[in-house]
């Protein structure tokens, strides 16, 4: 009795965005390592130098292709209000402007690096070299962008992957500094700067994306998830005795042709003492456009409170829904939800009362 | 004596009947000829408006550059005059060759002759500026040129041509044409550049630049006054005129002498009072030159057809000196004095110098064919002709001092008592 949730459309684009972003980071890591191998004149029996140079070039072009897909899927996915221009002009997006903007900045640098390299004979060696140094800035920008905009920065395997890439880049930079023939002071300064940046990023990650509630602090707009408040939401462990909020979301409806329907409503609860993500799923028989419910599932993830609440619909009367949900500790809450559905667009608004 | 703008009748001016020409009428002591003395002797070189014919005069005279490459001067003048844009003249008085002192003598003793030539050439190609490049260690020469420029300016002798003295780093390669131009363009250093464009196309400030050796311009100054037929009275048909040669080493009176091109080395040695002791070989052409066995030297004529005259410096090596040691010393100098810009030159000249030094010191681990391989490997692989000159020098040493090399390789010691 499971139906494909139409909401998974949005999910596909989001996974694509996330996936291409991760692959881009891996490619850019590889490209940076290859660049260091090239400038430090590494060669082996089976790897002639032109191969290292050629891979460095081609993988960069490949990475750009992935970044372009990454940008397109992000913009096409209407879940977050991101426009095409936000991908090249940094810090003007409505969605997590700083962290998205860093990605735009990294993309701009990547384009500059690539263009000057393709036109190297025209721009001359000095200009090319000066711009190419920015590669060492582009990589950490891309990394912080990924950690700051992702919604699953705490996933174990992603952390391991990120750590692997960071380790590879750190090793490459170390080799570069050790083999450089610039003045010692310049090399030491560069080394200190690298360590400082690494420490900063690590510290920021641990206090930022690694902590729950990052999405709010990262500047996710109200239409998605978060308030516009700049102050970090404190971490509570239980819901207050009662709270109210406004619901904004979408509805998706799927029918299997045999008279069974599934209705999924997902949205954000904002504007009250408790904010969070609410998901309602109802299964049952088609009934004049509505549903004669036979099964349901409700989840509520409040912001700033560890642990999700889940449960079932206990009452359904037209546009009024009552659900009882509980968290893993056993605290229960009765949610009373009043819905206004625009059947043309699938947009959902309403109110939520918890007690 | 007022500076007239009309070229005086040749009869009024004392044309040197034979040698010396450039070095004629030098005052006693080492002081320069003053402007008054110069004008009294030669009159003014300006002929107010008929400058274009200077190139024809120079062409008819067959004058070749006296800086080492012996390139036809008229061809150079025409090439620069024919370019678009206002040209610039550079007088190359840097003379970085350690064994040569002729340009310094000219600048120090008869600067006005050189400056006359510079101004005449400038007018012939349409230039308004002439830079006089002097090595920054040559203080006496610098002072003489500065004073000469000053006195000419006071008399407004040179019309619209401005003379400027420039001090150039005292390095061997600093006098190379493109290095000089690069330095005058503001640096970073006086090092050769990878041509094109060549200076005659785009040089100082992007203008077509005429770089001419100081002695060449001194000859131009005399040709302008006395004409091509006079110039051709000494020398040979294909190499007319006189040259200044620096003679040093085991001769009685080392110094700068003026001889006719094509004259035998014997005559030059006689002028210098003959050799002081037994000579085993002569280095002809300075540090980029070739070694010539003393036996062959007796019949040798000072002509490009017989031997590359290079910087016109000749060093007489006494028999008691180890030719190999002397070669090693010069090879090391050439290696150190390279601009250091081109890998093959840096490595090659270094390897050659190392090997020669070791050989001279009695270390028998090197092989002659290795040195010969390096000598061949550096030729033509630099941005300038520095490795070519060094290569030619080392090659001639290996040939002329072959016995010495054998001795060192076999027995680890020298035939000469001095190392």
């Amino acid at each position: 009795m499971s139906f494909l949730l139409a909401a998974s459309n949005t999910k596909a684009l989001w996974y694509l965005t996330r996936g291409t972003g991760v692959v881009s980071l891996i490619l850019l890591t590889t490209v940076l390592v290859l660049g260091v191998l090239g400038v430090t004149r590494w060669r082996s029996e089976r790897w002639p130098r032109f191969l290292v140079a050629g891979l460095h070039r081609n993988l960069t072009l490949f990475a750009i292709a992935f970044v372009v897909v990454h940008v397109v899927t992000t913009v096409a996915d209407g879940f977050a209000p991101i426009r095409l221009v936000d991908a090249v002009v940094p810090f003007i997006s409505a969605y997590r402007p700083i962290w998205l903007g860093l990605g735009a900045l990294a993309f701009d640098l990547l384009l500059a690096l690539t263009l000057t390299s393709l036109l190297r004979a025209r721009v001359g060696l000095r200009v090319w070299r000066a711009v190419h140094w920015l590669a060492y800035a582009a990589w950490p920008l891309a990394l912080v962008h990924g950690l700051g905009t992702g919604s699953d920065s705490r996933l174990g395997w992603l952390q391991i992957l990120t750590l692997g890439c960071a380790a590879a880049v750190a090793a490459a930079v170390a080799v570069r500094l050790l083999r450089a023939d610039a003045r010692p002071r310049l090399r030491i300064a560069a080394g200190v700067a690298t360590v400082a940046v690494a420490a900063l990023v690590l510290g920021w990650y641990r206090s930022g994306p690694a902590q729950p509630g990052w999405a709010a602090r990262a500047g996710t707009p109200t239409s998605n998830l978060r308030t516009a408040s700049a102050s970090p939401v404190s971490v509570r462990t239980t819901l207050p005795a009662s709270f109210d909020g406004k619901l904004t979301g979408r509805l998706a409806r799927n029918a299997d042709g045999a008279g069974n329907v599934g209705i999924a409503i997902g949205g954000n609860v904002t504007g009250g003492a408790v904010e969070g993500v609410l998901k309602l799923t109802l299964w049952g028989a088609d009934s004049n456009g509505g549903v004669a419910m036979t099964d349901s599932e409700v989840t509520f993830q409040p912001v700033g409170i560890a642990g999700a609440y889940s449960g079932q619909v206990v009452g359904l009367d037209g546009n009024l829904v009552q659900a009882d949900v509980a968290n893993s500790a056993g605290d229960t809450v009765r949610l009373t939800i009043s819905l206004q559905i625009d059947s043309a667009t699938g947009a959902v608004t309403g109110t939520v009362h918890g007690a | 004596m007022s500076a007239t703008r009309v070229r005086p009748e040749p009869a009024l001016v004392a044309a040197p009947q034979s040698l010396p020409r450039l070095l004629a009428g030098l005052p006693p002591g080492d002081r320069p000829v003053t402007l008054d003395e110069h004008l009294a002797r030669y009159g003014s070189v300006r002929d107010g408006g008929k400058s274009r014919s200077l190139i024809d005069l120079v062409e008819a005279s067959g004058l070749q550059g006296r800086g080492g490459a012996a390139f036809p001067t008229a061809t150079k003048l025409r090439a620069v005059a024919g370019r678009r844009g206002r040209p610039v003249v550079v007088v190359n008085g840097t003379e970085g060759e350690p064994a040569s002192g002729k340009d310094k003598v000219l600048l120090r003793c008869v600067p006005h002759l050189v400056l006359d030539g510079a101004v005449a050439a400038a007018e012939a190609v349409g230039a308004r500026e002439a830079f006089v490049a002097v090595a920054d260690g040559a203080t006496a020469e610098s002072a003489a040129v500065a004073e000469a420029i000053d006195s000419r300016r006071r008399r407004k002798l040179d019309g619209r041509v401005t003379l400027r003295l420039v001090d150039v780093p005292d390095r061997f390669v600093a006098g190379e044409e493109t290095a000089l131009v690069q330095f005058l363009n503001g640096g970073p250093a006086a090092k050769p550049t990878f041509t094109p464009p060549r200076p005659f196309e785009r040089g100082v400030g992007g203008a077509p630049t005429l770089v001419q050796n100081a002695e060449t311009l001194a000859h131009v100054a005399q040709i302008a006054r006395f004409g091509p037929s006079w110039f051709r009275k000494v020398g040979t048909a294909s190499e007319p005129g006189s040259i200044l040669v620096t003679l040093s080493g085991a001769v009685a009176r080392p110094g700068v002498y003026e001889v006719a091109l094509g004259s035998p080395l014997r005559d030059l040695l006689a002028q210098a009072g003959g050799v002081r002791e037994d000579v085993q070989a002569y280095l002809v052409g300075g540090y980029f030159g070739t070694w010539v066995h003393a036996d062959r030297a007796t019949a040798l004529r000072l002509s490009e057809a017989e031997v590359s005259l290079g910087a016109r410096a000749i060093v007489a090596l006494p028999a008691r000196t180890c030719g190999l040691a002397e070669t090693a010393r010069i090879a090391r100098y050439l290696s150190d004095e390279g601009a250091g810009q081109c890998g093959p030159c840096v490595h090659g000249l270094g390897a050659i110098a190392d090997a020669l030094e070791r050989l001279a010191a009695g270390d028998r681990t090197d092989r002659r064919d290795r040195i010969e391989r390096w000598v061949a490997a550096v030729r033509g692989r630099g941005a300038c002709h520095h490795p070519d000159g060094a290569s030619r020098f080392a090659a001639s040493a290996l040939e002329v001092f072959a016995d010495e090399v054998e001795l060192h390789l076999r027995h680890g010691r020298c035939s000469g008592s001095r190392r």
């Binding site: 400038v39 060669r43 130098r49 140079a53 060696l125 | 061809t75 090439a79 990878f194 093959p344 030159c345």
Partner: protein
């Protein structure tokens, strides 16, 4: 109008990629610097030569007109 490969010895830093991509004209000496064969490159070889010119990290390799040496020299 034939082309030859030339190297700018001042810009060259002995990376050696050119010799890998154009062994028909370029070999490396014992210090890693290119020895360039001045024979012209034609047809298929010119394509390889262009690739070698593009890959040089210091833009030291050039494709030039054959026989173009300046006449005025000192």
């Amino acid at each position: 109008m034939s082309k030859v490969v030339r190297v700018n010895p001042i810009a060259c830093e002995a990376h050696g990629l050119c010799a890998e991509l154009l062994p028909e004209r370029i070999t490396l000496d014992e210090w890693g610097y290119p020895i360039v064969d001045p024979t012209p490159v034609t047809g298929e070889l010119e394509r390889h030569a262009r690739r070698a010119v593009a890959v040089c990290p210091t833009l030291a390799l050039l494709l030039a007109e054959a026989g173009r040496r300046s006449p005025v020299t000192d």
